[in-house]
Symmetry: C2
Subunit: 128 residues, 2 copies
DNA sequence: TGCAGTGTACTATGTGTATAATACACTGCA
DNA sequence: TGCAGTGTATTATACACATAGTACACTGCA
């Protein structure tokens, strides 16, 4: 588990939750995998343990992770939940994007060109 | 100027600013156009006049609008600023979207299909 | 000349969030 | 058997934001 770059806009506990959702959605975290302890993740992400606890608590409530006594929390083995996570992330991304370009009435050709540009940028970053 | 649907997540003054940026970007607001007074917009949007004032103040600082004494504020006549507004909205939308789908590794075909779906949804909403 | 509306400014209150500092029961392990 | 680490919980402080309420100088207009 690597670090994370936090923005100052969104609540930190939400960014932590989203980080785990992404790891789950792209398969880096698999059903049953152990995740870092509250204190360890707080050190890793340079945030307060209470903030991590809040994120874990909400992920627990959303049945994304599962905790027994003072054992390491684990990613749920409920496949339906995991599929739902990917679906939600994707749906939110598409909806936000299309609504935005629709509002400012960007021609489809310009949209596609911009998207391709950005994809190429990211691939160059991955290669580095 | 119609009403607005506010979310509870982002600061209201930012949502107000973004609302005006969209109106500028899609041409509904043109250079030199007058915009509602602080108190009038507050009534229209059902928010506090102080919140509107903050939004207008920041738009003033960003040179999006211009105010003289106690006359109605007007959209700037600086075309470069207006072009920049559209550019920023578009750039932000594309970057956020591509970064998100890249993180969860969605195949391009699935992305395009989803985007088309959402576009069709919006067009049906427009027709209604 | 009044008066309503304007932009602007200030104080105060409540809420959500992040942090700091503890605390406690429980577990694995040296 | 200790002890470090675990999940969990509580209290206090600080900050940004939204709101409520008030105030003042200025303007156009009836």
């Amino acid at each position: 588990m690597r670090g994370i770059t936090l923005n100052t806009r969104d609540p930190v506990y939400e960014q932590v939750m989203n980080h785990f959702k992404v790891l789950i959605a792209n398969g880096e975290l698999r059903p049953g995998d152990e995740i870092p302890s509250r204190r360890e993740l707080a050190r890793l992400f340079q945030i307060n343990p209470n903030t991590v606890q809040r994120a874990y608590k909400e992920m627990e409530d959303a049945q994304l992770i599962h905790t027994e006594r003072n054992y390491p929390s684990k990613v749920t083995t409920d496949e339906a939940v995991l599929i739902q996570v990917r679906e939600e992330l994707l749906h939110h991304a598409v909806e936000t994007f299309v609504d935005a370009i629709h509002l400012i009435q960007v021609p489809m050709e310009e949209v596609l060109a911009r998207v391709e540009n950005r994809i190429n940028e990211l691939e160059r970053e991955d290669d580095r």
